[in-house]
Symmetry: C3
Subunit: 316 residues, 3 copies
């Protein structure tokens, strides 16, 4: 699809040279052949630094598009980006891809489904009712229990264990909303990458990125019924206890511990070696390493204990 | 089954004419051929207004049964209703129904299971390990990802996306308890209806109604690991973020937003355009539209912020 | 595997007689042919009372090993126990076991998978995409909805209903951590036992025990998306509402009620007939029967109501 076709689809004014667009991406990550977008004038600095070949803008941001970068001028950038995201979404399955490959020593149940393009490493166990999507890659010695679904284009490392009914690479929760209150899905065209030695619990859901990658680093252990939002990064050897929820675009350092039913808001950074007690609710980034927190709103655990003592007194 | 047989099963005294009973229903919705029940004398007004052909009552409520309506008099109405609910439960599958129908252009995986009586619309994608129950209907262009289970008698609209491992139409959580503390299941003989343009996240569970319908209206987006209780109604274009829980018989207006890990108690009404922040716990109905709430117990978000400031002061 | 081989694997000094080890177990439950371990000097009394044939100890605990019991002396007992747990883990499936047996009158979907060694009782319904693991036993009249996974060696009673996408017997969340912050999985070699007349909701996860059994007693009703940790015991006729989380090694008496999104910390005892309101967070054992609690930290419900009144006043 070239820029002229895209301009037609979203009713945009095209300023600049036409070219064939290879995909969509964020301002920060887009390359010369890619299209990006800016939905908020607070990202003006990022526009100017972007390597995108073209940017969807509105009247308030169009003047900041750098030289050599095309502009697609619309009303409602986010809504139009959502419109286009569907055009860049690959088919769920693709029969033109090669048949799935299975490495030496692996056991794949006849009741599992490997989409074309899937690649299973050596000595894996892929159990009944598992689904591995197109172009997804499973590392050596990995065990995938029944009814796990891995959507397309994901990567799971070596020596991983994925427990029953987990979902890896489902769509992140993204949509644009118009003035009528209607929503339009933003197709999630990124993926999930899980590094080596990771264990993931039953019915845990790890969403694929909108663009780029949701990343679970080496040696992480995730319990059951945990939600990990799109574009999050979980640091090496982190521990996420059951029913915790991590919103989108949260980046954690190594050896972070999240207690049961704890949660983070989106777009936060959590310092390495942070511990969040059960039920913690994290709404701001944590910059200092090695501290322990509790409560919602979050506070240092020792303060939380003090607060509970005060509350107890209040009740006498 | 006629009233005499029913009276025998539950040891009831039958007052009134015998007739063939077509099903059970609530006092409000029961028709002339249906049986209803009243387990609490506070529903006396509803007894008098009911069109039910017969009502299960106890000694304290039997005198309020209207003329022309039969009464089945028992001790322990709720327990006996539970007993009968099993008799009115359809078989899980029914081989006498026609083979499933698949609309033009739809792709159904050979590893999916369509029960007899299921109907798939046009241009759908039904992936591996999906189960579609008897008489369930899937609208055109709908995508159902792997390992989704749709129980019998449900209806999913057009242009919907149901993500992996979601469960649509599982039994609502209902039972009666006797004086020994034992429970008896109330069979959930209603269904789930999902209107057009709805997206439902991975491992989300939407329970079928005890009677009638659990309803997800047009354009709703539901994230992963959300619980929606039986007989709830979610208004158009509402947004339910991951791990939220909606108890039974909650009715929401349009464009309600529920943050992550938020929850509502049962039998509430939530006004349109209400926003509940993450972790909100709603225990009373919300009547005014367009407000934002936080906390548990719930309060307006601006009050909640004030409360947090007071608590911070308390700790100095 | 005998003690000498084990000593080699974990680099232990062996004090005592060599013997063939049949398995690993806790100090309390280990028999003469089993190996146990003590990772904390506060368990010295349990060492002395243990019937284990051998115990993994470190320098601080080795002198407490009773006569006639061998000692394996290491640095980092817990880490080495984790190392060994893998050696005692049975294969996920075992083709040398007899083909699965199906009792009279049972209907097993051709799209279900029964591992060798599985045993299905009479008049069961085992639906599509169900997996029943090796040596797992399903009692008479039990219904298992689609995409349920039962791991190996579990036992489900008669007249049970397991809803779609539930996972029974997945690994408990256990690992050892070394000084580098790396984790090593503790293989969960126990099982799950579910007694008769139990109903389990969709996408609920019940973890197998590390050793011994996670036990759900007769007549329990569990809603959707509930997490039950390894080695927990849920008393007869208890009710666990959606999205509740029960940490490992919690023991509940009969007729306990846990509200939606409530949770318990690990290693607690909850008295019979205790009610915990929605969102309760239980961090200490509850010894008196029949009380109702709320809040986090937990308090008696009537106190919690008083606290809310005080907080309301604070805000005026």
């Amino acid at each position: 699809m070239d820029l002229k076709e895209i301009a037609l689809i979203i009713g945009a004014e095209l300023i600049g040279e036409n070219f064939e667009v290879s995909g969509m991406n964020t301002l920060k990550d887009a390359s010369k052949s890619e299209l990006s977008f800016v939905s908020n004038s607070k990202y003006i600095k990022e526009i100017q630094d972007s390597n995108a070949g073209a940017i969807i803008v509105d009247k308030t941001t169009k003047d900041f598009v750098p030289d050599g970068c095309a502009a697609l001028v619309v009303d409602g950038v986010y809504w139009q980006m959502a419109t286009l995201s569907k055009y860049f979404a690959p088919n769920i399955e693709d029969e033109t891809l090669a048949l799935a490959k299975i490495g030496e020593g692996s056991k794949v149940s006849s009741k599992a489904e490997l989409a074309n393009g899937a690649i299973i490493g050596k000595n894996c166990i892929i159990m009944a009712h598992v689904y591995i999507g197109a172009n997804s890659v499973i590392g050596d010695n990995t065990i995938i229990y029944p009814s796990v679904t891995v959507y397309r284009d994901c990567k799971i490392g070596a020596n991983c264990i994925i427990h029953a009914n987990a979902t890896i690479g489902g769509d992140g929760f993204g949509f644009a909303t118009n003035k009528m209150g209607e929503h339009k899905k933003i197709y999630q065209n990124g993926n999930v990458v899980i590094e080596d030695d990771v264990e993931i619990g039953s019915s845990t859901t790890i969403d694929r990125a909108a663009f780029a990658t949701t990343l679970i680093k080496k040696g992480v252990h995730i319990d059951n019924l945990v939600q990990i939002g799109h574009n999050s990064i979980i640091g090496e050897y982190s521990i996420i206890v059951a029913q915790a929820g991590i919103s989108g675009s949260t980046t954690m350092g190594r050896n972070v511990v999240m207690g049961g039913q704890s949660a983070t808001a989106g777009h936060l950074t959590i310092a390495p070696f942070t511990t969040m007690a059960a039920r913690s609710g994290v709404t701001k980034s944590i910059k200092e390493s090695g501290l322990t927190f509790s409560g919602f709103p979050l506070m240092e655990h020792k303060l939380w204990l003090k607060l509970q003592a005060k509350i107890a007194k209040l009740m006498q």
